[in-house]
Symmetry: C2
């Protein structure tokens, strides 16, 4: 468990500050992460990586000459926001374009994709290679759905070495994608970490049992077996990975890099006992083992787990894997001729508050009160939302909503006091929610608030029809995010009937509070369906039944928020 | 806990083999450890380090250019034997002398000192610098009694850099000693590791509490307090270490290297949260922080603990700390111009079995049966001996005696079958016990068997008087080992009255079995006194009383062995 922290809410930020203080030889802090503190003689393509905190040395420990140029550092197990990724990528850019690379998780995909769009909008060539090495997370035919785990190191290292060699963005992207296509991993776990301030572990595995394919945030695995011997685990790893040799590779004489990765509390001596047998089995299978790595490369706090990654080399990848690099956590060979970069003062963009109509200012004041009430409610509900999320997901929904709404409320209060209108207030609140909340929920709620604000505007009269139109814009923002539709047991199940019902009643001439009261009932129904399914799922999982889908608690939190806003609206009636 | 192993008895050996297989870029295996797999253009002084297994990257992970030349790798938490240290040091020697360096633990001191004597006897200049950085393990005036913990890294790094710079053995020894005199550490723990195959953790700390100064093998600490915040722990570390600034250093403007070391399951993000405050406090105290290290440098499997080390630099030490090095676990800067060394086949010395008298051969057969019975008895008693040892010591007595006696029995059987006499049989058995048993008990029992064998000889008649003389020689071997005397609650309390009584009765004409029966009673009495004191100590410790000394279970195991041998002697009456 995590024992050492101050305020758990500040954990990721304080950890990032400590990392930067200890690692000035390699990095300097920027808003949302770190970038290199040195540069080479010639500009190169910039490789920008990132993800949630809790996986050190992924991601900040892999920034330095020959590896990544910058790392966006999200909150605990939560994606950095698009704003943070964009800030880090901009600071890391040397004029030759940016490759974004990160593990394939929904929140990260959302935020990095948004950041990529912002980079491109400002004229910077930006590409993405998502890491998908975990063979347990989707079948062989659906590689693009797989999660990224310790294979991160391979893809980042190859991309960083390609950039260091002076290749252009086309080649860096191509080689990173090539390395991902030739990298496979499988992980096992004996027990989960306990996040700072949390009351219970992220997950547990029964004593004497081992979960196969369990993810680094506790995502459900594919099997559970008795804890094998070290040799038995090595055999499970090697057999599973050799069943999935990438296309076009002849096993006999193939050159592979094994990476045996400890997730946290499975320690070095144990890893080496397992490695002894991995090495023997690979040789027995006719493979040539090339510069193996045994250690901690992608962790999950003190999670008791291990993974084995195989990188299937070819003539292009092998020299890139061997190339020199120098980072806080991963070094190889000799890196010379680096020039120190002066630490750059991190300047927060100044908020410009333009003129606003009286009506919009009054609406902003209501929004401010509503956000404050939402933050208080979500603070109280955070544990319960986290509990629901843990049944099917990574358990970060409660803490993400809590942090995001708290930051949004603070940001709104700051600008409302200076006379901001509804658009400006919601823009600031939305960016703050995405930055601090992190994860998928942070991205979605951030965009929802921004969409609502864009509809309400700073100059116009905010009447009932405009509010209903704003809620419809929020719904559209959610729908554009992912591929989920009504019935997939996500927030969409709640917001679609809510927005549609509200628009319908307002259209028919209803007052806002009356229409909202009615619409909130539809959201409640969706939330109840999700809760019921989650409870059923919890029971089914306990009995080994995996036939039920994976609801997320987004509908539950949406319904709670709709009720809280209704209370605020009633107070302003 | 340690979950992944095959046969727990083979754990350390298999881990060492896996390490060597994964780390051929840096090391090659030799009997008892590893030495570098490369050499520089010019020979240098050789720095040979080592200790028990379970502390990775200490010790084998620190072998490579610019750091150590070789590491002797003992069993779990048990010193390598003198024979192993000697083998590693001989393989590492490049013709310019050897510096031995290791943490200050009784077993390591015994074995490395014996190895040093053997090196010197073969004409190789050999010196020793023992690491004594743990301020909690003895008062400020008794530095030489302190244990070595993460300060190991400092002393090894400075010695390795001095050797790499081409300095002679005088200077390498002087600089290593200088770095030790300017290094201070303090550790804390929340819970202990569980060794492979063990039923319970090495130690526990009550939930919500933190042991201050607890050692890396579970040696008792100096205080127990509520778990502080990360900032509170940083303050405890910094305040304690600044209360002990080495002589002659002016605090204001002093240059220090902080090394924040995780013992196993306190992970990187937590360490960085603590480091953020350590960094701030050191700066606030007027110190200049120089290239800090945050990570895992001296672990104890998955022990939940942290230590902070401060190295107080001076003009000689600073460039040595910064100098390049390249090892499996610790790298810095650029190391070039290395030449690969061909893997050397490890050749075990061949055992020469000379002629032996019939009487000595018959005695050897009895010895063989006695050792076999001892091994069976110690196998059964290992858990109980370990439990007793854990109350005052590091808990390795049971496992050490079990392994040592098993190896000794096997070695004896091997040569007795080929007609060896008593001297040859006991020489082989003693070396095997020291090699495989490890620790203080391994060293002592190894020397005891060799001493007995030297007295019995291969050619002479083995009569009752000679056996009694042999037991006296065993007693003398024990006495010459350490500074303990009768009454210190060690094995000496049992063997001295046993040997004296046996000699007295045999001198008076008693038969061996009768004399042995009587003498065994005196050993039983000593064992009972130790057991009683240990039980009392356990109760007193539970009540916070630290006034009782620290008995070791040596008297208990001696008495058990005396009874077992008596049974064998009776069977041969």
């Amino acid at each position: 468990m995590t024992r050492l922290f101050n305020d758990p809410d500040d954990f990721a930020a304080e950890s990032a500050a400590g990392f930067a203080a200890a690692s000035a030889r390699w990095v300097r802090p920027v808003n949302g992460g770190v970038v290199r503190s040195t540069r080479g003689a010639e500009p190169t393509v910039s490789v920008v990586i990132g993800g949630g905190s809790g996986h050190y040395p992924a991601f900040a420990g892999l920034v330095g000459p020959g590896l990544a140029h910058g790392a966006a550092m999200g909150n605990l197990f939560a994606s950095p926001s698009a704003h943070q990724v964009h800030t880090v990528a901009t600071a890391a850019h040397e004029g030759r374009g940016v490759l974004l690379s990160y593990g394939n998780y929904a929140g990260d995909v959302l935020h990095f994709t948004q950041a990529q769009e912002r980079m491109r909008a400002s004229g910077i060539d930006c590409r993405t290679v998502v890491v998908t090495d975990d063979i347990s997370s989707a079948p062989a035919g659906e590689h693009e759905k797989r999660r990224g785990i310790a294979g991160d190191l391979v893809v980042f290292k190859v991309a960083g070495a390609a950039a260091e060699a002076g290749l252009d963005l086309d080649d860096v992207e191509r080689l990173a994608a090539l390395s991902n296509s030739r990298t496979r991993s499988l992980g096992v776990a004996f027990g989960g970490c306990t996040l700072p301030g949390a009351d219970e572990p992220l997950f547990t595995v029964p004593e004497g049992r081992m979960a196969v394919g369990l993810g680094i945030h506790g995502e459900p695995g594919i099997d559970e077996i008795d804890v094998p011997t070290a040799a038995g685990l090595a055999e499970l790893f090697v057999t599973s990975l050799l069943a999935e040799i990438p296309d076009g590779i002849d096993q006999e004489g193939a050159r592979v890099v094994p990476i045996l990765n400890g997730l946290g509390s499975v320690k070095y001596e144990e890893l080496y006992v397992v490695y002894a047998e991995v090495d023997r089995l690979l040789a027995e299978a006719g493979l040539v083992v090339v510069s193996p790595e045994v250690g901690e490369f992608c962790t999950s706090f003190d999670m008791a787990g291990v993974s084995l990654t195989l990188l299937w080399l070819d003539d292009e990848l092998e020299p890139l894997w061997h190339a020199s690099c120098d980072t806080a956590a991963f070094r190889r060979g000799a890196v010379e001729g680096r020039i120190a970069v002066d630490a750059v003062e991190v300047v927060e963009e100044e908020v410009v508050i333009g003129p606003a109509s009286d009506s919009s200012q009054r609406a902003a004041a209501v929004i401010d009160r509503a956000l404050s009430a939402m933050a208080a409610m979500l603070d109280a509900e955070a544990d319960e939302l986290g509990r629901i999320d843990r049944i099917a997901g990574d358990g970060d929904h409660g803490i993400g909503m809590q942090r995001g709404s708290c930051a949004a409320s603070a940001a709104a209060s700051g600008v409302v006091a200076d006379g901001a209108g509804a658009r400006t207030t919601l823009q600031q609140a939305g960016d703050a929610w995405a930055d601090k909340g992190g994860g998928t929920s942070g991205a979605i709620w951030g965009e929802m608030l921004v969409a609502l604000g864009a509809t309400l505007g700073d100059d116009d009269d905010v009447d009932t029809a405009r509010v209903a139109a704003g809620i419809t814009a929020m719904k559209d923002a959610v729908m554009s995010f992912g591929k989920a539709t009504v019935g997939d047991k996500t927030m969409i199940d709640a917001i679609v009937p809510f927005a549609d019902r509200l628009a319908e009643l307002v259209d028919a001439g209803a007052e806002l509070v009356d229409a909202w009261t009615d619409a909130a009932g539809t959201a409640d129904a969706a939330a109840k369906a999700t809760s019921d399914l989650t409870a059923k799922l919890g029971r089914a999982r306990a009995h080994g039944d995996k036939s039920i889908g994976t609801p997320d608690p987004g509908a539950v939190s949406f319904a709670l928020i709709a009720r809280t806003v209704l209370d605020t609206l009633k107070g302003n009636d």
